[in-house]
């Protein structure tokens, strides 16, 4: 049953991913990417990561994609995407070859990974409490650095958005 759900959600994720890449208008790409994010959120639920699934929908499908749609509509693109002649096919082939190469490297890496035996934990993994426990004990320093990262991103975005880019 769970495998059936997994396969259905994986099919949705892959099909919407293909549509993201091969749509001509960026608005349609963005809308298909939202479908992709929802499918991946469903996969997180299947993997007992309820908190991450909620964060995925709120942050990715909510905040980030709204930002994308806002910028796409702000720029109001009319000209369709076109390629210089005699340049497109070879580039496509090279892109697919490189992507296949990266996939092969990833699969090889996954097979080479030394997988230790899992520690038997009785705590139910994935609830918000255990993530918070991990976040504020083992990963306290990265958590604080993350806040600095967000501050830097905010300052950078504000400076870039100023009308005079000098």
């Amino acid at each position: 049953m769970q495998q059936l759900f997994f396969l259905a959600l994986a099919a949705i994720a892959l099909i919407s991913g293909v549509l993201v890449v091969f749509q001509t208008h960026p608005l349609r790409s963005a809308l298909w990417l939202i479908v992709n994010f929802f499918a991946v959120a469903g996969l997180y639920l299947l993997a007992h990561a309820e908190f991450i699934a909620a964060i995925q929908i709120i942050v990715y499908a909510g905040a980030i994609m709204v930002l994308f749609l806002f910028v796409i509509m702000l720029l109001n693109l009319r000209r369709p995407e076109e390629a210089p002649p005699g340049y497109r096919l070879g580039q496509k082939l090279a892109a697919v070859a490189l992507a296949a190469l990266s996939a092969v490297v990833l699969v090889y890496g996954f097979f080479q990974a030394q997988i230790p035996l899992a520690k038997e934990t009785t705590v139910s993994v994935g609830n918000t409490e255990s993530i918070a426990q991990s976040l504020f004990t083992n990963y306290l320093l990265p958590f604080e650095v993350t806040s600095v990262l967000l501050l830097v991103a905010i300052v950078g975005a504000v400076i870039l958005s100023k009308s005079k880019l000098k």
């Binding site: 990715y60 490189l98 992507a99």
Partner: protein
């Protein structure tokens, strides 16, 4: 029946490769950024799959950090796109060839 780990890893590899294809063949910077988001999602999926298989919460904590980096990257990236559009009136990577030899 539980979903085996290699299902998650296989889907993760497929989504990542799809993102690589998108980054390499598309010319619109916005779509390139979206494909980068898709690649980050593929990595998150691998993290979640491992976290579920090993019953360890560290994978989910890392996904949290990856999402933070993704949000920061999108904010700065879209600000850059808007700034470039103001300056050059284009969002196509082909038109930004001033550094090209």
């Amino acid at each position: 029946m539980v979903v085996p780990l290699h299902y998650y890893l296989g889907l993760s590899v497929a989504l990542f490769a799809l993102g690589v294809v998108g980054v390499l063949i598309r010319r619109n910077i916005l779509v390139i950024l979206m494909c980068i988001e898709m690649m980050l999602n593929a990595v998150n999926l691998a993290f979640i799959g491992f976290a579920d298989a090993f019953k360890a919460v560290d994978g989910q904590t890392f996904v949290f950090f990856v999402m933070t980096v993704a949000a920061a990257e999108v904010a700065v990236g879209l600000a850059l796109v808007v700034a470039i559009f103001r300056h050059r009136a284009t969002v196509y990577a082909d038109d930004l060839n001033i550094l090209k030899w």
